[in-house]
């Protein structure tokens, strides 16, 4: 069957999709988006986390046909052109990466957390990332990265607000 949906703002179609195929397979093998990783195929590891209509989900458990007409955002769609998202920057800076396999899923999941909860507690970070398994780093740098990203996003928002205020006053 043919499946058409929006990926990272662009409408994409895949042909000859098997009816039992997962969204993850279509993304990786048919649309050339290998950022989302394929590991457990049972929703345990979180490596394939993507946004589906704005909610983070395991792409391995979404039937490709269920994505028809919907909005998908993958880790490839987080950066703004050449500029990394603050979550991505923070992962690089904190060394929250070792083999890198779990990283895309963690980044999408952390991104969602900070969209919903700008200043998460450590307990909230742990809860949000409970379904993303990392077998290398021991998670400490990952928690550091999320904290750093949260602080940066808050600082940027504050700076933006100040600039807006200034501009308004100047008017």
């Amino acid at each position: 069957m043919r499946v058409t949906f929006t990926v990272n703002g662009r409408e994409e179609s895949a042909d000859d999709v098997w009816e039992g195929e997962s969204l993850l397979y279509v993304l990786r093998e048919r649309l050339g988006l290998p950022g989302s990783k394929n590991a457990c195929e049972q929703g345990e590891c979180g490596s394939c986390t993507v946004y589906l209509d704005g909610l983070p989900v395991c792409a391995c458990l979404v039937a490709a046909g269920q994505a028809e007409g919907r909005q998908v955002r993958t880790v490839e769609g987080l950066a703004d052109g050449g500029r990394l998202d603050p979550v991505q920057e923070a992962f690089v800076e904190c060394g929250a990466v070792q083999c890198g396999f779990c990283t895309p899923g963690l980044i999408v999941q952390a991104h969602d957390l900070l969209e919903r909860v700008p200043r998460p507690s450590d307990a909230e970070i742990r809860e949000a990332l409970a379904g993303n398994l990392c077998r290398c780093t021991g998670y400490e740098q990952i928690l550091d990265a999320v904290r750093l990203a949260a602080a940066r996003k808050m600082a940027r928002k504050t700076a933006q607000k100040m600039a807006q205020k200034k501009a308004r006053k100047a008017d």
Binding site: E41, G43, V62, Q109, G131
Partner: protein
């Protein structure tokens, strides 16, 4: 394999009548695992994601009518007030990603003895609304819904429309044993619901028998002997725990031993009754 995508409930019922062997898929958190691992090759998948009314809940005749497609995340965010037991259980399901997709209807459809929704639904006296094109709506009390390991009273041409649960009139608790605080299939679980108006206590046992089940003798004991105005008698709580454990019929498997599960059910029964009773007395005092 066919991939059926009805957009209305009527079309979904028609599709299921036409192809009763089609497997309904909502969040995919059970169905897709089986397909990914080659454990199941149904002739058709019946995608229910496009049937918008399944994702809604509303008050109907004094009960919360929770659509079969309502996700665990929605239960946690919107139903923790009226359905505290179900919301507590929903919080223990998988990860945020799984809770965003997994649904109450899917849990009922899979009818796994380890499903987290079942004990609180049993304890609260929920009723499952199913429907077929040929015979219309059937209302099945949760206690009669589970028939065997992953078997339910749902007929092949029927779909689960909703589950009806009366808003809590007393404290409710859910307790679950697992190796971590997240991403855990229950070793066993227990739910309790106090119904002070009826002087009754509801129970639900998970993952400790071929089906989720109540502990009727334990419920009867409390109906007979609880003094609703007094502190909980530890001896009565102990007997309640024993009867709950006696209602379990677990097996040894990879997640735990039968003897451990029986013991754990007793412990969880006593604990949840104690927590609920403390809340009950505090509410009376307030």
């Amino acid at each position: 394999m066919d991939f059926l995508r009805p957009t209305t409930w009527e079309d979904a019922l028609a599709a299921k009548a036409d192809q009763p062997e089609a497997v309904p898929v909502q969040g995919g958190t059970d169905v897709m695992v089986e397909i990914n691992f080659d454990r199941r090759r149904p002739p058709a998948l019946l995608d229910l994601n496009q049937v918008a009314e399944l994702r809604e809940w509303a008050m109907v005749d004094g009960a919360c009518r929770v659509g079969a497609g309502v996700s665990y995340t929605t239960v946690i965010e919107e139903l923790a007030g009226p359905l505290p037991g179900l919301a507590q259980a929903a919080r223990t399901v998988g990860s945020p990603q799984i809770r965003n997709r997994g649904s109450i209807g899917g849990n009922l459809g899979a009818a796994s003895p380890a499903g987290d929704s079942h004990p609180p639904l049993l304890a609260a006296g929920a009723v499952v609304e199913v429907e077929s094109l040929a015979r219309g709506v059937r209302m099945i009390p949760a206690a009669e819904y589970y028939l065997g390991v992953k078997r339910s009273a749902l007929e092949p041409d029927e779909l689960i429309r909703a589950v009806h649960v009366r808003p809590a009139t007393g404290p409710q608790y859910f307790s679950k044993i697992g190796t971590r605080n997240a991403m855990v299939i229950a070793v066993c679980s227990f739910a309790i619901a106090l119904h002070p108006g009826e002087r009754r206590v509801g129970t639900g046992i998970g993952s400790a028998a071929p089906t989720p089940r109540r502990a009727p003798e334990a419920e009867e004991l409390l109906a007979q002997e609880l003094d609703w105005g007094a502190p909980l008698d530890p001896a009565l709580a102990g007997r309640f725990a024993e009867l709950c454990a006696a209602a379990a019929a677990p097996i040894d498997d990879v997640r735990g031993a039968a003897a451990y599960r029986v013991h754990a059910i007793a412990v969880m029964a006593r604990r949840t009754l104690t927590w609920a009773w403390n809340d009950h007395l505090a509410r009376r005092a307030a």
